[in-house]
Symmetry: C2
Amino acid sequence: MTGITPSRRVRRTHFTDFVEAAGVKSYTVYNHMLLPSSFEGIEADYHHLKRHVQVWDVSCERQVQVKGSDAMRLIQMLTPRDISSLSTKKCMYIPVVDQNGGMLNDPVLIAAGSDTFWISIADSDFLLWVLAVAACNGLDVEVEEPDVSPLAVQGPKSGLLMERVFGARVNGLRFFECGRFEFHGDHMLVSRSGYSRQGGFEIYLENPKLAEPLWESLFKMGEDLQVRAGCPNLIERIEGGLLSYGNDMTRENSPLECGFEKFVSESLLDHCFGGRVLRKELDAGIKRKIRPVSIEGELPPCDRAWPLYAKGLRAGQVTSAARSPDHGTNVAIGMMSREFWDAGSALEVETQAGMRRAVVKASFWE
Amino acid sequence: MTGITPSRRVRRTHFTDFVEAAGVKSYTVYNHMLLPSSFEGIEADYHHLKRHVQVWDVSCERQVQVKGSDAMRLIQMLTPRDISSLSTKKCMYIPVVDQNGGMLNDPVLIAAGSDTFWISIADSDFLLWVLAVAACNGLDVEVEEPDVSPLAVQGPKSGLLMERVFGARVNGLRFFECGRFEFHGDHMLVSRSGYSRQGGFEIYLENPKLAEPLWESLFKMGEDLQVRAGCPNLIERIEGGLLSYGNDMTRENSPLECGFEKFVSESLLDHCFGGRVLRKELDAGIKRKIRPVSIEGELPPCDRAWPLYAKGLRAGQVTSAARSPDHGTNVAIGMMSREFWDAGSALEVETQAGMRRAVVKASFWE
């Protein structure tokens, strides 16, 4: 594997020292920051994640903080999802869209205070979009990237571990609910969320001095639960149909193509960026959608979009793929044209190592 | 060295296959794309670059293309530099600034056609800023990232090699001049520019089918010149005082702090983003500036900002550093407070491996 060169531009996090001590083997770069991508190896990490509990340094899920009297008004311009029901008790997944209907990011929106909101972003400098919209519309908001670093606790034993560190109340949170929980005198924002299907939490570290005590508490309290350092796992997230911005969708894709119809409120389409384009797309019918795809044979790393063909015609592309030990196949995510997106469609996929047979699945594996 | 995990999100370029065949040892990620950072090793690469000629895959210098009748008007809103003298024969370095006076990027502006402009960017998604400004102001422009991939030819023998591939006229270009030059029936945009002080060119590949013939021609024609694959070299660029966005400056810094006074036109400050903040800064006096710093002793990798102290007071920070074989010292770039920025100021720098003695230099080493 080719190495990654250290520089200030590829930012370390408040947890990088601990991640390195835990034996991180490879990184990716996400929002100009180090994101671990394997520890014992992707298959060993996968099996452990599905059985035990892992602590993930996902500091790279940076926050775009919007603060001020026009904050909600600004944020509602950014997304076709109705955010009026947002509260400090529940966070919200919001697709954000440019004037051409293209996905700019797929963040989670959090009410961190009464007029302070965090847009917890995937891998693009969405801050620049929000800053510009604020500047051009003369809105009463401050937009910045605060020093807030999410740490995820994921896996079937995550509830048990979190109870020990934050008290029983934390385990009462339901999916996407959040609250403030005491740790070392601080009140940390914790949500029941995370980039796996194994259940879990995200802790939003605001005071960097608590990085070490938090990491240490989780490992000390989780010793008998076989806690270890982990990271978003390629195999597990594909099995579960968790999309990755930059991989499975880009600015070339609309939220409708990504399966986010339920987050597109028709009544908002006159007011949000890209709304008119999305309305046209709804009227004309969505032309391509994300689908689970199963692929036969040995696969190289999916480091580029793989063209898909059906009966010699271009049918779409595969954008993430990995061998699944539990399902005995290669699990994959593809963007499929309407004519070919039905379950059972037989396909050929063109990888850098040659053509492989593939089939559209009815649902993700979970 | 920790490995980097392949994924579609960290994009390969049209030259990555050739870079890999040439034995790339490490990468960094720049604009969500692979950028080689060493081949034979950073010191061996450095000596070769200063003597011969190298071909660099800098496809990650993506273009923000602005096209349409309002293109120049839009771009002039983005920068305090007067761009009215831009022509298809000369490109222009333009700091771009947010409403708070912070640097968003430090790109090169190129007139690629009569109403088509390329903003050739450093490492931030400046596209999102430009898209939003265009959308919010209802300007008649199209903003996109075209499939344009710069390939740099750098080093003292670069003129000789470029003449052989593009004809003698290309060597008549002066620094920052550009033009179209024939290659395999195509007319490629070539500028005399690049991220080294050894002289060189950048070729803007538009037709991906020409990636292989272009790479091959450069290597075939340069065999006796000892051409080899290379990349921006950390040591050489610090010696030459070439700043790196994300390392030596961020959104926390104004263009004045970065030494770009000559690119700030006072008459434009009422009309560009951040102009009022820059005017206040000019009136109050610039508080900190970038300076060359020489550091004693063994250094760890400069993978974070290193605090600088003078007589126990915080004096600034070092943001890039490397051992220079030619100068027998550690060359470094720092951001220094006014009280301490004079040449000769004695400093202490706090690295992750301990304190080191340092001194402000009068000029970069080149």
